[in-house]
Point group: C2
Chain length 356, copies 2
């Protein structure tokens, strides 16, 4: 069984750390979270609604779905991914790598078989479209992270439609993990949500974790056909979402001000941070489309693991990306944070890499 | 696959309901929970500790275990039970019925085989000790709810030791679900926790849900040998416990005042409530050892489902127990609540059953 290594394990470090390893919105929790905790805390005295009807309805409304029967909520996107794995029991699924490692583990846990396809660094990790379209008819489905963690690649609307058309024609399952899509400019054009009605074999995964800066809350969801959602719900543990998490999820979806501020931050920081990082000539910087960046240390100057250790001395934590299948020891990933933190990282990288 | 029907689904009812269907401590959440939420809420901005080291250490300390490696925490006892199921992959396990339905579902979900043993009403649902001791050598283990939900039976220390001795001698797994044992008088004598060092094949399940009145928090744990715990942790989803839930769990374990008050409530209400219910001559009342009671409507006067409907008109929700394997339509279960609520229930039962 594939065992996934996770980033963001700040608990093993002491002292103040600027955490670039978790791709979390640096605005922090929406202010309303504190209010909800102080007014609604007694809901912990009750079992959560087994069906999470209010939360599922709020999600359905947000995405203009016909019914909450097209929505499943879970303990972070992690639980949704695990349940998605169950759709591939005894089946074969294509997964492009490098990508988030949980897909493969979930499919194998349910006895499905994973066929890997590789994004290549010479193509800047673009999705190998022709290979996917050629192989899709011979397998049962495809799991795609869009935008892709850790490489940042985003499907164009045209690419998305080509894949969905083929999936529909051959009756293949397409799973789109859109955990980071809220950070994408003009995200509607890259999201599968608009095509759920036309493509009954499409399933979209979303999370509250990254955009609302609440990875501790454990709340994610999946949207798709009633049939897929029903199957996944039947296989789910009861009450996997905490009562307060359900209330918070329901309400933050309405927080338009937080959404606007977050979009404004990402728009202003993404380009600036990327340009600053590109000044560090020892690095190759891959394009950012969401709120994180993949970087490569050029010319075997240093391993990412060693760079990580050196940065920790400066109170900075990055994600050594060498554990991602398809990446080697020269890669690391950083979140886009606020201007001041971003500049500290760039200065520290300059200092370490150009001292060598 | 066995599908379990759960009680406590108050979300389908509107208006004020006195909920006797969930077996929750009527003192409500410990006061410190509100303080923890207001001071620690920012922990939601971080992923939980993947290893939940602080919480597992607090649990290990509470039970005087040698190491936190003997502890797994999960999303309610539900997740622990699900993972316990994985210990019986391709194996056979004895489960006495009627009991909590999740055990059977968990074992079957992992491809294990369940052998049922029946507690009989003529024996007041006492555990069929001789049958279990006779059959245990031929299977791989036993899952036992103690005190048993919904019948309330509690193992004596002597019975517990007989089972553990045989399990140890034959190398069989014994799982004790002690979700309600905090409510038992002199609980130490009925708990398996004292025998964990001697019996390496013993695993004990506990929950924060019932005793600390926080079913919405989703926090349970398992304790056992390092080997069992390690196996279960490897099969667990990452971060299944919310960050705030982990903090709350860690701290409420220290709340001795809440513990003392809860014990005092249960001691004073249990006998009084049982005696009041026994005044309702249309009922057979089974002995309470924890914080709930199984009742049977005598002489086919009425089905429990109909009684439930009638009581709802009076704003009272009971648990129709006919969905428990081994019970028929005459059984229902009620939680022990505060004096005033308990008396309202008894009066309503008198009114309905003696009107017939």
């Amino acid at each position: 069984m594939t065992k996934v290594i996770h980033g963001g394990d700040i608990y093993q470090y002491t002292g103040k750390i600027i955490d670039f390893s978790s791709n979390i919105n640096p605005l922090g929790l929406p202010g309303m979270v504190q209010d909800i905790l102080s007014t609604e805390w007694r809901c912990l005295e009750y079992y959560p609604d087994l069906h999470y009807t209010a939360l599922r309805r709020a999600i359905a409304d947000k995405h203009a779905l016909v019914s909450e029967d097209q929505v499943i909520v879970g303990n972070g996107a992690a639980e949704i991914i695990y349940l998605v794995g169950s759709l591939f029991q005894g089946k074969q699924v294509l997964i492009p790598m490098p990508s988030f490692g949980e897909y493969q583990q979930a499919v194998e846990q349910w006895g499905g078989q994973v066929e890997l396809v590789f994004r290549k660094s010479v193509n800047r990790f673009a999705l190998p479209m022709e290979e996917i379209l050629r192989r899709l008819p011979d397998v049962d489905g495809l799991i795609l992270c869009n935008p892709n963690n850790p490489t940042g690649n985003l499907l164009s609307e045209e690419e998305l439609i080509r894949i969905l058309n083929q999936a529909e024609a051959y009756g293949k399952i397409v799973v789109l993990d859109e955990a980071f899509i809220d950070f994408v400019s003009d995200s509607a054009r890259s999201s599968g949500v608009d095509w759920l009605e036309e493509v009954s074999t499409l399933l979209v995964i979303r999370a509250f974790t990254k955009f609302y800066a609440m990875p501790g809350l454990r709340l994610g969801y999946g949207i798709g056909s009633r049939e897929f959602i029903q199957t996944m719900r039947e296989r789910q543990m009861p009450w996997s979402v905490n009562s307060l998490a359900a209330k918070i999820g329901e309400q933050v979806l309405q927080d338009e001000e937080y959404r606007a501020q977050s979009i404004q931050w990402i728009e202003s920081e993404r380009v600036h941070f990327m340009q600053s990082l590109q000044q560090v000539t020892a690095l190759r910087v891959y394009p950012a489309t969401a709120n994180f960046l993949l970087c490569q240390i050029r010319g075997q100057r240093m391993k990412a693991a060693d760079l990580k250790e050196r940065l920790l001395d400066a109170g900075i934590l990055i994600r050594d990306a060498s554990s991602f299948c398809g990446l080697d020891e020269s890669y690391f990933r950083v979140a886009i944070k606020g201007r001041e933190d971003n500049e500290k990282l760039v200065a520290a990288l300059q200092g370490i890499l150009h001292d060598e």
